[in-house]
Symmetry: C2
Subunit: 220 residues, 2 copies
């Protein structure tokens, strides 16, 4: 059974990605990153709930709160407000955390090299996403090459992005089909007890469920 690290934020995409890794027959290790995001507390709860659901034995939670010092994103800098109803603006949004996914994949690779995981699964979405540059497959291809160049010769690690070309509605349908625990996930960018339903992430989620003609289990 191949060991795989799944990057699990606590959101819907990474949850469905974990189901894909399980379907692929992998033994799952979960990695969660606190990068100083507003929703850290709530996301970590979802991460732990999802880990229990998948019966994951090997978990790592990493603090990257240096992103608060670096700033420049509404997710990590409390002085920058989270925009509302901004989803059809095609510029890179202010929620973009600079080069975040490279930081995350670097930790994942370091851990993978030690625990001998052969695959890293990440729930990045290029097609129907917020337009982040570090969510494109071309970025993951470049990163895979970097792994090859920067690790031991015997280390071989692939990056799997099973959702990269899917639309949100298809991710939700896939999640339902794979019996993914969508009821345990959290998407909202704000730090409330209930989703705000107005931020980019809430709007993408609710539009996806509507288009899939499925009721969001966290709203029932």
């Amino acid at each position: 059974m191949k060991k795989a690290i799944v990057l699990v934020s606590g959101g819907m995409d990474s949850c469905v990605t974990a189901s894909c890794a399980k379907k692929d027959g992998c033994q799952l290790s979960f990695l969660h990153i606190n990068y100083g995001q507003r929703t850290e507390r709530r996301e970590l709860k979802s991460f732990n709930d999802i880990a229990i659901f998948f019966n994951v034995k090997e978990k790592l939670v990493v603090d990257m709160n240096y992103f608060n010092h670096i700033g420049g994103s509404c997710l990590t800098d409390l002085k920058i407000p989270v925009p509302k109803d901004n989803i059809d603006n095609h510029e890179i949004p202010v929620s973009y955390v600079p080069f975040r996914n490279a930081n995350i994949l670097s930790v994942a690779t370091s851990w993978a090299e030690i625990i001998k995981a052969k695959i890293i699964y990440i729930g990045a979405v290029e097609e129907d996403s917020s337009g982040y540059p570090d969510c494109r497959r071309s970025f993951y291809d470049a990163f895979e090459k970097t792994i090859k160049e920067g690790t031991k010769p015997e280390t071989s690690i692939k990056i799997m992005t099973p959702l990269i070309n899917l639309y949100k509605k298809d991710i939700i349908k896939m999640g339902v089909e794979l019996k993914s625990p969508l009821h345990l996930t959290w998407s909202c960018y704000e730090n409330g007890n209930e989703p705000c339903l107005k931020c980019d992430s809430c709007i993408l989620r609710s539009r996806g469920f509507k288009q899939a003609d499925i009721t969001d289990p966290i709203l029932t």
Copy 2:
């Protein structure tokens, strides 16, 4: 004046690299990483001393102590002893911290994207080094491509490795020529008040000074 981030560990190579960046006419911003290394306390002192020497206004110190949880290296796992007199063994040594430089460059890139630095200087040495895979220029070329793919279209960041092809003795000669503050640097892998003179890093340093026919200022 172009802004450049210099990765400054507190060691000799990064100190000479800072001198190279200054010679290239850059405005220097210094980044130091605590990755849970044994010598963290001593290295941080050298970092701060070197920053004062170069009159650096913009500094960032980042904690990556997750490397202690990941382990697998004698630098970050206190259960693994630091080998002595091991320098001519051509295998990748146990001081290799898995994919460390990718983690470091990722933070540097995130910071560079926000403070609008155009260059990252890193004092990696391929030729006369400990044989770490993430110290080869091919790794930095791959990482540069990853930066291009994973950042905003208007972001343009180069990675400069001015020492990559030099032998230790030539780095020392260059440091002396550029009036680099070698007396402020720290190389030893152990966490003592004086260099142990037996670890890989001490041996590389003393061999370099001997070959350059220069007295190491930290030993006088």
